[in-house]
């Protein structure tokens, strides 16, 4: 898909001088949401870093309307908001902007309920792989072996396959995206906005504070995660799976960059032994095997 960066809207929806840390991926992601949806977006934000980024009265850090809501109720609040807007004849797009803890742990039942009812809104899970706002505690989306303040010797569990869990609800649109690939994310948001029903986008967002890397490398690490195959860009449209570039060229493991390039830049993986690294590689290989199995069953590979 052709992507013209100069044709993107020039209006600022994310205000300079907000409360985000330097190099914050959530700010970058919110910026792309505003570029894709503009005036039409209404944010529903459960507790998380974005509640802080909005800033304190009398100034607001983002110029999109925001409904702040408790962790467990993001999807249910968005359901009500979206229904009320439709009854009033408005076509505004309700966007839930939730962190990985607010989606995979605390907000999962509301998310599942809204998906099952087929509510009309976009749910974006900003996956920075731990509870960053409260001080880097492990969440169920933390990858294997990663250091957090509650897993000093590395996370013993493994990452919950959340996009597949939502896709199993048979919703019209499920996609994964990365802040390193704005053209992919923006086109997915525009596609999601044009579909009626429950849409889910899982956004990979490397956090410099929690992952222990230099804030200037946020975008580079997000791109490396995709190039090494640790994060896969794909979309389920009406149940049909499709890999998106650049992940569609990485089905063959020899085309991927070595995983070490991605791991070595992050302080949270500093303690990893060779055995842990093998475990992590095995997990990534399993993810790819699942994806390719579905593609083969569809006859696309």
């Amino acid at each position: 898909m052709a992507f013209n960066v100069k044709a993107l809207p020039k209006k600022n929806y994310i205000m300079p001088g907000n409360a985000a840390c330097p190099g914050c991926p959530e700010n970058i992601g919110l910026k792309f949401v505003s570029m894709a949806l503009g005036e039409k977006a209404t944010l529903v934000v459960p507790a998380g870093c974005t509640s802080v980024i909005q800033g304190l009265w009398p100034r607001q850090g983002t110029s999109m309307p925001v409904l702040n809501i408790v962790f467990a109720a993001a999807a249910s609040a968005a359901s009500g908001l979206s229904r009320a807007l439709r009854i009033r004849g408005k076509d505004d797009i309700v966007v839930v902007w939730a962190g990985d803890g607010g989606t995979a742990d605390i907000g999962l039942q509301a998310l599942s309920g809204a998906a099952e009812r087929g509510e009309d809104f976009i749910y974006i899970c900003v996956d920075n792989e731990a509870y960053m706002n409260t001080g880097i505690q492990r969440s169920s989306l933390t990858p294997h072996g990663a250091w957090t303040t509650t897993t000093h010797r590395g996370n013993p569990g493994r990452k919950k396959p959340l996009p597949q869990i939502v896709a199993a609800h048979r919703v019209p649109y499920v996609a994964t995206a990365s802040i390193g690939y704005p053209w992919d994310f923006i086109s997915k948001l525009k596609k999601a906005a044009s579909i009626k029903g429950f849409k889910y986008i899982h956004l990979h967002a490397p956090c410099p504070v929690g992952w222990r890397f230099d804030p200037g490398l946020t975008v580079k690490i997000a791109q490396l995660a995709v190039e090494t195959g640790a994060w896969i860009l794909y979309e389920y449209e009406n149940g049909k799976l499709r890999l998106n570039p650049p992940s569609n060229k990485l089905v063959d493991p020899s085309k991927r960059k070595p995983l070490e390039e991605y791991i070595k830049l992050q302080g949270r993986f500093r303690h990893l032994t060779d055995k842990d690294l093998e475990e992590l590689k095995k997990e990534i290989e399993e993810n790819w095997r699942e994806i390719t199995a579905i593609l083969r069953a569809q006859g696309d590979l």
């Binding site: 960066v5 205000m15 001088g17 009398p58 200037g216 975008v219």
Partner: protein, 131 residues
Amino acid sequence: MRRLGSRKQRKSRLRGEMVLAGSSPSRKDVLVVEPGDHFYPLSVAAPGSMGRTGSWRTQRPVVNAEKCIGCYMCWLYCPDNTIIMREKAGPRGQDVASIDYEYCKGCGICANVCPVNAIEMVDESKFISQS
């Protein structure tokens, strides 16, 4: 309490718009609440909700206008929207990136995504003696 702002500004505040008195973002100018001026505490999108975040910076991005090709990559990725593209302002007539140092937090993403290395991160201490 002190009446705040001009008559026009007070009227626009009655309509629910907030006009910051003067251009100074100091808190005391905007936190004064007068009866009749604010009916409810309404936040308005404005730069500097966390103050002048440029003071967080330890390294300053410096754009080399000679090298800049106007590709907009830094503008696209800047988390704080502090890159301002000046159209056709470069020495070769190209668009050139410039940086709002009042709010730039100095994360260095712009320097890392620049395809021609036109942005250099310079230690903030180099600028102290000049000012």
